[in-house]
């Protein structure tokens, strides 16, 4: 069987497995709905009396997408790796022609599909409920795809180095939540203490949020990077970060116990 055949088999198995976990499907798509209901209600109300959530609804679309893009792969891949370890599935797969990289590619494809659907749901809800203006831009699809690659890699690392599904999910939440708020998503750099700045610049999600905002929000004031259009430059930076994250993730998947 060719590599394409192996990937097809793995993607098919993963996709069917996901669809048949009803609670997983339900909460995967409930998450963006709740996110938008809560944040959509906050946006514009200026509850802090300061500048929090004071931007127009369209500004936060990048943040909504970032939430799904970071939480879903981290928790799904992390727990999937742990589940595979518990069931000796990697031990079995290590004796088949499927490589660790192919396994992670298949997981990434499934996650990209799941997140793609969740992303469409987010865009539809944001436009319908908040009246946000969103520019259709194919670059947003590229951002989602590259970010999924990046965070699937990180999720694989978490799943490989935690000793259970619970541990993987806890670790992914511990990483995803701070990352979400330190990545220029809902809070700008100016709203954070200065010492957070290096963390913000190190987070791959920062480049996702800035790039998606530059590509999809007409009033975005995202700075160019070295004179390059921010919608493109941030995608390049994200891709540069995604490659090592994916490679390390694939390498960390256990072939031996």
């Amino acid at each position: 069987m060719s590599r394409a055949g192996r990937l097809r088999a793995q993607v098919g198995a993963d996709w069917h497995s996901f669809l048949r976990r009803r609670t997983a499907v339900f909460f995967t798509f409930l998450f963006p709905i709740i996110l938008i209901l809560i944040f959509g209600a906050l946006v514009g109300t200026d509850p802090s009396g300061g500048a929090l959530f004071g931007e127009p609804p369209g500004y936060y679309v990048a943040g909504y997408l970032a939430a799904v893009v970071v939480f879903t792969p981290l928790s799904r891949i992390g727990s999937e790796v742990a589940r595979h370890r518990e069931g000796s599935r990697f031990e079995k797969l290590a004796t088949t022609p499927l490589s660790r990289t192919e396994w992670l590619v298949a997981q990434t494809v499934v996650n990209a599909a799941v997140i793609g659907v969740a992303g469409l749901l987010i865009l539809a809800l944001v436009v319908a409920l908040t009246g946000a203006t969103v520019i259709p831009n194919p670059l947003v699809v590229a951002y989602v795809a590259v970010a999924v690659v990046c965070f699937c890699g990180v999720g694989a690392v978490l799943g490989s180095y935690t000793d259970s599904r619970d541990g993987a999910v806890a670790a992914s939440n511990t990483i995803a939540l701070p990352l979400l708020f330190l990545s220029d998503t809902f809070l700008t750099l100016e709203q954070l203490p200065g010492w957070f700045a290096p963390f913000v610049e190190l987070s791959p999600l920062t480049y996702f949020a800035r790039g998606v905002r530059a590509a999809s929000y007409p009033d975005a004031q995202v700075s160019a990077v070295a004179g390059v259009d921010p919608a493109v430059a941030n995608l390049v930076i994200l891709a540069v970060l995604a490659v090592p994250a994916f490679v390390v993730g694939a390498r960390s998947i256990p072939e031996t116990d």
């Binding site: 069987m1 055949g5 192996r6 097809r8 088999a9 793995q10 098919g12 198995a13 069917h16 497995s17 048949r20 976990r21 518990e86 069931g87 000796s88 599935r89 031990e91 079995k92 797969l93 290590a94 004796t95 088949t96 022609p97 499927l98 490989s160 180095y161 935690t162 000793d163 072939e255 031996t256 116990d257």
Partner: protein
């Protein structure tokens, strides 16, 4: 002819625990090699070392002349001991999935029928009985029609009829030239299927040979068990060793033609008895003779079973060790 599976001085330690203490063996083409041994003897660790899913500290292994990690995986079939495939897929989907990973797989429907779960092909794995689950797992190891097949306790949890289905399947594969490396706790399984049997105890291969050779060398004499409450002294003077055990008197070394002599002695000395059972030694006697000694020694030393409760120790991410049932030590 070159051996298909070779282990040369394999050693593996987990912390202070020796899982493999220098195991060497060779399995010839088309041979069924059965590995028996008590829980924690190192059987699963040996299978892992041979299939490249654990790295030995010392020694080397090869399959089909290649290092285990370099072997053509289309020619290799493996059933890990604790394997649990994606549980939301049906039996047919699982076989189809694993078939899709190989270059030239068998027709999934045939495999499903071979392992005897055709009637449950559309049932999700999570809804199958324990025996059906294990048979599906066996199917995933056969789906690529491998030249070398490793089965780590393939019939655990399978009912007697299902076990025989798997046995017939393994026999058919062996007749077709497949080399099979099988671990089991079922002595009848090893005796029926294996051309040669190896007994692993405390990480060492303490005996290997055909079942007949092992029984002749380690199985002990024939036994006539007399069901009685009488003391061994009532048979004093007979020309066979007599012991009081197993709820009666065990007279050793009695050939079938000599049973009448013992019965005559019982009658003559008016020893009351309710039954007689004559048994030849079998592989279980070999196991008890060789492995039980190791177990007793371990108990006397005050140690628990070595690695893993069952057969292996698994290092955890934090450097601890996990037993096969998921507990940690």
């Amino acid at each position: 002819m070159d051996a298909v599976v070779v282990a040369d001085g394999l050693e593996k330690r987990y912390g202070d625990t020796v899982a493999l203490g220098g195991v060497s063996l060779a399995v010839e083409p088309g041979e069924v090699f059965g590995l028996i041994g008590p829980n924690g003897a190192g059987k699963t660790t040996l299978v892992r070392a041979l299939t490249g899913t654990t790295v030995p500290d010392v020694g080397s292994a090869s399959i089909l002349g290649s290092e285990p990690t370099a072997v053509d995986r289309d020619r290799l079939g493996v059933l890990p001991q604790r394997f649990s495939p994606p549980e939301r897929l049906t039996a047919a989907e699982l076989i189809d999935y694993y078939a899709g990973l190989y270059g030239d797989a068998r027709e999934p429907g045939e495999v499903i029928a071979d392992v005897g779960v055709a009637g449950a092909a559309d049932t999700r794995y999570e809804d199958l009985s324990g025996g059906q689950k294990r048979r599906v797992c066996v199917g995933t190891a056969l789906v690529n029609d491998p030249d070398v097949l490793f089965l780590d306790e393939p019939t655990t949890g399978i009912d007697p009829a299902g076990r025989r289905t798997v046995w017939r399947l393994i026999e058919a594969l062996a007749e077709g030239g497949t080399t099979v490396f099988l671990t089991t706790h079922d002595m009848a399984e090893a005796e029926r299927l294996a051309d040669r049997v190896g007994l692993l105890a405390d990480g060492k291969l303490v005996a290997a040979g055909t079942p007949g050779e092992l029984i002749a060398e380690h199985g002990g004499p024939n036994r006539l068990t007399v069901e009685t409450d009488a003391e061994p002294g009532r048979l004093e003077g007979v020309s066979y060793p007599v012991e009081g055990r197993d709820g009666g008197l065990v007279v050793e070394g009695v050939e079938p033609a000599e049973i009448g002599d013992v019965v005559a002695t019982l009658e003559k000395r008016e020893v009351p008895y309710t039954g007689l059972t004559w048994t030849e030694p079998d592989l279980e006697d070999v196991y008890l003779e060789l492995a039980d000694g190791a177990e007793r020694l371990r108990t006397l030393r005050g140690g628990g079973p070595p690695p893993g409760g069952e057969d292996a120790v698994e290092p955890t991410a934090d450097g601890g060790e996990t037993t096969p049932d998921g507990g940690e030590r």
